[in-house]
């Protein structure tokens, strides 16, 4: 099977114009369909800057291609629905959880996506169930939720847009182990479903091959969740490993052995 390229970065650089600090230095990176990339490096090495640039949230120099097409101006909001950035700390707007979950579906970039409201309700209900969250949560306000619940809602909100690529910026750093396991489990399920064709006959060729980038200061999590590791140092990609690593064995590999691959973190 030929791996389809979802995202390609060419010589992406970014300078913070306030401090003149170079956050990203000529980064070239390819994200293929189905890729599970662990992004590691110490704080300030540019992991977040890279993810934010892939989501086109910050101005940068260089080129970014999505399915071989360079994304510009008006196509960017639609692109961000396909390549979703999830921050470590989830944010919500005023209103209930349900209003927050429906918010992205009301943006102009969602208008081409004709889905009935009832279909979304069923989807939301099943998503809540997957996280063992009671349906009553929909009427609550975001501030009344725990950090773990908030992050699960943020993930549901992202998945409702049927993304191709998830950019997970230390998504579980602030979560308790139980919430972390649920979060990881849901990402696994999403990745399997979007890469496993027979179980998902409704998807057309274009929608296959969900991929994600994951940053974490926890080497064992990088082992569990990713199959390819990219190390960042001073805004540069310094090391890429694990390309021929078998994802089926990911859970069995000894954490200690892998710690040498992953740069020691400052966590």
């Amino acid at each position: 099977m030929v791996e389809k390229t979802l995202i390609q970065l060419r010589d992406v650089s970014r300078v913070d114009s306030n401090s003149d600090r170079q956050l990203l230095r000529a980064i070239s990176l390819t994200v293929s369909a189905g890729a599970r990339i662990g992004l590691v490096g110490i704080s300030g090495s540019g992991k977040s800057a890279l993810m934010r640039s892939i989501a086109m949230l910050d101005p940068f120099s260089g080129e970014l291609f999505h399915r071989d097409i360079q994304i510009t101006n008006d196509a960017i909001p639609g692109y961000r629905r396909k390549v979703v950035y999830l921050s470590q700390r989830p944010f919500f707007t005023q209103g209930t959880i349900e209003e927050n979950l429906r918010l992205p579906l009301q943006f102009k970039s969602a208008k081409s996506n004709l889905k009935s409201a009832s279909y979304q309700s069923e989807l939301i209900a099943s998503e809540l169930e997957a996280f063992e969250l009671a349906p009553e949560i929909l009427t609550r306000s975001p501030e009344s939720l725990s950090g773990g619940e908030q992050q699960m809602i943020a993930l549901i909100r992202a998945l409702l847009m049927e993304p191709e690529v998830l950019l997970l910026d230390e998504p579980t750093a602030a979560l308790d182990p139980d919430s972390r396991d649920k979060f990881e489990g849901r990402i696994h399920k999403w990745h399997d479903a979007s890469n496993n064709l027979p179980t998902n006959p409704s998807k057309n060729e274009k929608e296959r091959g969900g991929a994600y980038l994951w940053t974490s200061h926890d080497p064992t999590q990088i082992d569990r969740m990713t199959q390819q590791i990219v190390t960042m140092n001073h805004g540069q990609l310094t090391l890429t490993t694990g390309q021929d690593f078998n994802p089926r064995n990911a859970r069995e590999i000894d954490g200690l052995e892998k710690e040498q691959q992953v740069e020691p973190s400052d966590a």
Partner: protein
């Protein structure tokens, strides 16, 4: 500083003056000019404030002194300039003074703002200029219609009042817009990350800033005539105008001021929104800096 009628209205109440100086000659009917000695009597009232401040250690005695001196000098200069311009009775000096007043208002609007971006002064001056001049032109040319059209005693006080209010509104609006954008950065950016356009992500902040900027004039309008007799009307009554005439002028000027604020605020916010976002639907956070 630029408001001619506020100058008139900040004069002490006539009855107060009479009470203070029963030995002074009663003023002839219709004569409202004050001697500098009489102004000095009003200044002594502020001494009470200064004494209280010194006694309680409020630490504002110096500010009371500098503000008083500053106000006196500014208004004295304004008086001299106006005297010259009134005597000249030519359009160019009137428009020249109006232009200077407008630029000062545009710059002053930015002075009290905590967060700024590089082109904020240009935008503020443009917004003040456009809103105040459009609204004042309509007022002078279509409503008041003085002869000649550039009559300084009409144009300058009207423009001054419009500018003073417009700058307050723009200042409040910009301050709220930029600080709120920073405070709600996570929320705004999350919307962008979920496919919002730059306008969809900033709309809530924009609306809130507009609302904040409009609140003072709406409050003023709702208490006008009950709690306060507005400055322009006070001035006209002191000058011997018929109450009904003074009221009509005051109502007119309230509408005019509200319109100027609305135009100035929306314009300054729209320009700011364009300057801190870009066509790639990004917010250029690095441009917004604490001043």
């Amino acid at each position: 500083m630029l408001d001619f009628h506020t100058m008139v209205s900040t004069m002490p109440d006539i009855s107060e003056l009479h009470l203070l100086g029963q030995f002074l000659e009663p003023r002839p009917q219709g004569d409202i000019s004050l001697s500098w000695f009489e102004v000095g009597v009003a200044a002594t009232l502020l001494l009470i404030n200064a004494i209280i401040s010194l006694q309680l250690g409020l630490g504002i005695a110096k500010r009371i002194a500098t503000s008083s001196v500053r106000m006196t000098l500014q208004l004295a200069i304004l008086g001299l300039v106006l005297k010259q311009i009134f005597e000249l009775a030519q359009p160019t000096p009137v428009l020249g003074l109006a232009a200077v007043m407008t630029v000062i208002a545009g710059v002053s609007a930015v002075k009290r703002i905590d967060h700024r971006y590089p082109t904020i002064y240009r935008n503020s001056i443009f917004a003040v200029w456009t809103s105040a001049w459009v609204v004042t032109s309509v007022t002078v040319l279509l409503i008041v219609r003085p002869q000649p059209w550039y009559s300084p005693q009409v144009v300058i006080p009207l423009l001054g009042m419009v500018l003073g209010n417009s700058l307050t509104g723009i200042s409040l609006g910009l301050d709220r817009f930029l600080s709120e954008l920073r405070n709600r950065r996570g929320e705004v950016e999350t919307m962008l990350a979920l496919g919002a356009t730059r306008w969809e992500s900033c709309r809530g902040v924009f609306i809130e800033a507009t609302r904040t900027a409009m609140i003072p004039i709406l409050n003023t309008m709702s208490v006008a005539g009950i709690v306060s007799i507005p400055g322009m009307m006070t001035g006209q009554l002191l000058a011997g105008a018929e109450p009904i005439d003074a009221v009509k002028y005051q109502i007119m000027i309230m509408f005019v001021i509200a319109a100027a604020i609305a135009i100035g605020v929306v314009l300054s916010l729209a320009l700011s929104y364009r300057n801190v976002t870009n066509e790639n639907h990004q917010i250029e956070w690095e441009r917004i800096r604490r001043s």
